[in-house]
């Protein structure tokens, strides 16, 4: 394969699975449309690679490609990063600054982790998209217009976020004119051997062709059977470690131990969660001590939310004699979300 004959098609998207073929085919057909696109997929599956391919196969290739991570910045900062500001717009705004929208003019703006954008900013983004790219920087009266192709990426189930009131439905439809779903690596193990080949070649080149031993067939088989919660990025890291250590057994043991570990942890966490009470959660000198490995504000919050949800949903289900369609209306969530929550929160119907 030579890259010379096909310049500017973007970083290679390796994979022989049906899913990856479909992704490459979609990119080919939609890259020149300039229509808004959302790329869905778990962390590390290659959403950004897809976005770069869209860009490089589009007529905007060579123009700016600007990326912003909506999860990494607090709301106010994200807003000023996106839309820019005038001098004196707020304390500390000593210089006027262009926003990413404007910097991406005539090119592409990748809104990474769009599912984490706050509702007020979603409203502002919607407005910009509706007006064909018009907005005013913070502290400015004047509208700026930019011709920016917006591609968004997320690992959230945005439909679920909509049901839960965290994502605007109108923004969802406006962004989601084209949807590209990148499936998790565990669902397409046939892509693992070609990915390994590709990265071994790449790392060999990086190490100035110092001879690198390819993992044995047995190791490759094991790697194909692993669940890859961190997807391709995790595969890269594991390969690097195997290559650096020159021996795979240790890395492989750790890998499968960690897998057993996480699945065990999940079970214990959910059993605990099942019986968890607010008292238990707030028992900071005992059960939920900050010294525990599993302690974090995020975990505690999640457990508290689940506890409350479980109570309320159980209550409404009991009231409606487990008529789930009625219950979903009372709870003001979709029927699908309710079913999902019942199984997720392990709510069981009363024994008759």
């Amino acid at each position: 394969m030579s890259n010379k004959s096909k310049p500017n098609t973007g970083p290679p998207i390796i994979g022989v699975s049906k899913d990856m073929q479909r992704v490459r085919e979609l990119i080919e057909h939609v890259a020149d449309t300039g229509l808004n696109i959302v790329v869905f997929g778990e962390s590390g599956v290659g959403k950004e690679v897809v976005a770069q391919n869209l860009y490089q196969q589009s007529p905007r290739s060579g123009k700016p490609f600007i990326k912003i991570n909506c999860a990494a910045l607090p709301e106010g900062l994200l807003e000023s990063e996106l839309f820019g500001y005038e001098r004196g717009a707020f304390t500390g705004a000593e210089q006027k600054k262009k926003g990413k929208f404007q910097l991406a003019h005539s090119g592409v703006l990748l809104l990474d982790e769009i599912g984490d954008m706050s509702l007020p900013l979603q409203a502002k983004l919607l407005h910009v998209l509706q007006s064909g790219g018009e907005f005013s920087p913070l502290g400015s009266e004047k509208e700026v217009k930019s011709d920016t192709w917006v591609i968004a990426a997320t690992n959230h189930d945005l439909k679920k976020d909509i049901d839960e009131g965290k994502f605007r439905e109108d923004l969802y439809y406006r962004l989601n004119i084209i949807k590209i779903h990148v499936s998790p690596l565990r669902g397409r193990p046939e892509d693992i051997p070609p990915l390994i080949d590709f990265y071994i070649k790449e790392y060999t080149a990086m190490l100035q062709n110092r001879h690198i031993e390819k993992p044995s067939v047995k190791v490759i088989d094991q790697l194909c059977a692993y669940s890859w919660p961190g997807n391709v990025r995790e595969l890269q890291n594991i390969l690097k470690r195997i290559l650096v250590l020159g021996d795979s057994s240790e890395v492989m043991n750790e890998l499968f131990e960690s897998e057993r570990g996480t699945s065990n942890n999940k079970v214990t966490a959910s059993i605990q969660g099942h019986h968890a009470s607010l008292d238990g959660l707030l028992d900071l000198d005992g059960k939920n001590s900050p010294d525990n490995e599993s302690f974090s504000l995020k975990n505690a919050k999640q457990e508290a939310v689940e506890m409350v949800e479980r109570e309320i949903i159980s209550h409404v289900l009991a009231k409606t004699d487990w008529n789930r369609s009625k219950a979903s209306k009372i709870l003001k969530i979709s029927y699908k979300t309710l079913l999902y929550k019942i199984s997720d929160l392990k709510i069981v119907p009363p024994q008759k």
């Binding site: 979609l26 057909h29 939609v30 229509l35 439905e169 109108d170 439809y173 406006r174 004119i177 084209i178």
Partner: protein, 123 residues
């Protein structure tokens, strides 16, 4: 005999797609059916196809009906496009923005759609 009109119909619900296809075939239209947005797009891109009218569902996986309308109208501004949509679905306004000639809400009666197609073709 005069040449039959060529229709492209895109819907991911199989029973609807088959029903529409049979309905228009019986009326002597030449019908191409596509069950995904990508399939539909490939048909539109096929230079030899030259459809007289396109009917597309709005909510489709991957390439939505709104995308189909935008792309079709860009390539063939004079080819009429009818969007069909479930009641109250948001994309209706997007379909109009993309310059769909008509947005028809489900459920509709087949003769209603036929009338609409005829009107748009005879314009």
């Amino acid at each position: 005999m005069k040449k039959p009109f060529k229709l492209l119909i895109i819907d991911d619900a199989e029973e609807i797609l088959i029903a529409l296809e049979n309905f228009f075939k019986n009326l002597n239209y030449e019908v191409t059916a596509a069950s995904t947005g990508l399939d539909g797009l490939k048909q539109i891109e096929d230079e030899s196809a030259c459809f007289d009218l396109i009917i597309t569902d709005l909510v489709l996986p991957n390439i939505s009906g709104v995308a189909i309308i935008s792309i079709a109208k860009q390539k063939f501004p004079d080819t009429p496009v009818i969007a069909i949509t479930g009641w109250g679905e948001h994309p209706e306004s997007l379909a109009k923005e993309a310059k769909a000639d008509f947005v028809l809400e489900k459920p509709f009666k087949l003769p209603e759609l036929e009338q609409l197609v005829e009107n748009l073709l005879n314009k």
